[in-house]
Assembly symmetry: C2
Homo-oligomer: 318 residues x 2
């Protein structure tokens, strides 16, 4: 079987010894960031959770607070995010995206469209626990107009996730989508309904049928002014549902190729996928860019942040 | 403490003996409906669940299937619904409401607005399990136009359910609501956003402030053609959030006072509340109608259906 995760974590480990190693790295003159990376950059989610508990138990101090006071910059942010459980971390990503002066809609679309229904639900639960408001409440309050319609619908979804495909519905809805997109009725009531409620399996079948019948992809019909956040949101959602890994490889490509590296996007994708399917995403990245993701990351980042990301990418020597 | 439930169930019971009693009532010439009511009409949710399991175990037959073949009419429907777990039963109510030639929007609004966020989530989960589609998917597919906007938003909600109230937001949103309702902009984007995402505690505070400032309730501003399903949906949602028990008492009143008794609504409310807060609803019913709910039910129903409902209402002798 293909190795899909890139994280290198030992089977045996001791939460207390790890907590002690981190404490030691934090003490004395300066912080030993390499030591911290060499521990936490090689522990999976359950291990990190136990280390955080052990740290609390032994030092009566929250590991994340400790690291926040010792580390800085993008490295601090990434390391603190890394320690969180995935759903909680995604809730933080969502909140950071919404709190920006110009909310980052893309992050919301990604979270809502890439995750499984149960994962999205866990994010909504974590969001409520952390922020004492619901995710869709904040999405609705921080956005407006058409883009709000699509974001709220996607963020509120709790799709069916079985494998059943209703073939009659595929045909029917492919036609509905075509008609709505080509009538220039930019209200898109049906498109939003279908995109935000149907199961992903059903949607992919509908997208395929659309392409078979009309000879063009559905996203083509939704292209337009690149600054149109609404159309961009629709296209992103469709891409996330159609080809999630290819989409993520593209996010990484855009992040490293930007004039100023988009560290947030870079670490968001790497942290999220390191324990899941980052190996496949790396492959897709290489196939499209003729450069390995490690090389691209090494060229566009620096210092501890670079070392940390490369560790998560599975690099052996940093 | 006030007794809130009306169901009379013994502490001690034997699932197997109950299963045997039901089997006996089903055998021979004719069915002994009274015997079935005297058992199942006096068992709480956990007890019914165990009886169903015991029945399956002893007779290799599903209790609900058995009852479906023995009973008939509204009594059959009510008894079979009664045996289901609450979330599963509500999923059935939602599906029945949506499948009608003219979907019963009120049931969807009720389910989405009366339940706690976790209860609504359990219904959505049960719906997916039972129908292999999501609740909001079916709501969206069976409705259209403005009423769809409000139903889908309410059915997809997963509100924050803590007690925090943001007082600045109360003032701000009371003004937004007033402006939107009185500008005759019947698009109501903000109204739907606020109503479907804010916590119920927050909403009630906003409704109160609205009344304090404007001297009129928010539902008044939303009155109009009684046949307008969209405005009716908004008013129902607001009433369910403001005064759930009073709302349910009203549903019962309307059901028994109709020219043809609305058995569906009657049994939906009684089955749903018998183990929860039916005693309080009975009190509200009596205060408003100067007739006890038992009397009203007895006068508007008959036969086993009547006996069953009266049993759930806590009547001692039938």
């Amino acid at each position: 079987m293909k190795k899909v995760s890139t994280l290198v974590a030992p089977k045996d480990f001791s939460p207390v010894e790890d907590a002690e190693a981190i404490k030691e790295a934090c003490q004395g003159w300066g912080t030993d960031e390499r030591a911290i990376i060499s521990v936490l950059g090689h522990r999976n989610m359950f291990q990190r959770r136990l280390i955080r508990l052990a740290y609390e138990e032994v030092y009566h101090e929250d590991l994340i607070r400790q690291l926040q006071s010792e580390l800085s910059g993008h490295f601090e942010t990434a390391m603190c995010h890394w320690i969180l459980d995935p759903a909680d971390r995604d809730a933080v990503f969502a909140n950071l995206a919404l709190k920006k002066a110009t909310p980052n809609h893309r992050v919301i679309v990604e979270l809502a469209s890439l995750k499984s229904p149960e994962e999205l639900l866990a994010i909504r639960r974590a969001y409520k626990f952390r922020y004492r408001r619901s995710l869709e409440e904040d999405v609705a309050a921080h956005t407006s107009g058409d883009v709000r319609r699509i974001l709220v619908a996607l963020a509120s979804a709790y799709r069916y996730d079985g494998d059943d495909i209703d073939k009659e519905m595929v045909k029917l809805e492919a036609t509905i989508l075509y008609d709505e997109i080509h009538s220039n009725s930019f209200n898109h009531e049906e498109l939003i309904r279908i995109l935000s409620t149907r199961s992903k399996v059903q949607l992919n079948s509908t997208f395929n049928h659309y392409r078979d019948i009309h000879g063009t992809s559905i996203t083509k019909g939704l292209s337009g002014d690149p600054a149109d956040e609404y159309l961009a949101g629709l296209r992103t959602a469709i891409r996330c549902i159609k080809e999630p890994k290819k989409y993520l490889a593209k996010v990484l490509r855009t992040a490293v190729n930007a004039v100023v590296t988009d560290e947030d996007a870079l670490s968001r994708v790497i942290l999220t996928c390191a324990e899941k399917d980052l190996a496949e995403i790396k492959e897709l990245f290489f196939r499209r860019n003729s450069t390995s993701l490690e090389e691209a990351v090494a060229n566009s980042t620096s210092g501890d942040f670079k070392n940390f990301l490369l560790t998560l990418l599975g690099s052996e020597d940093i």
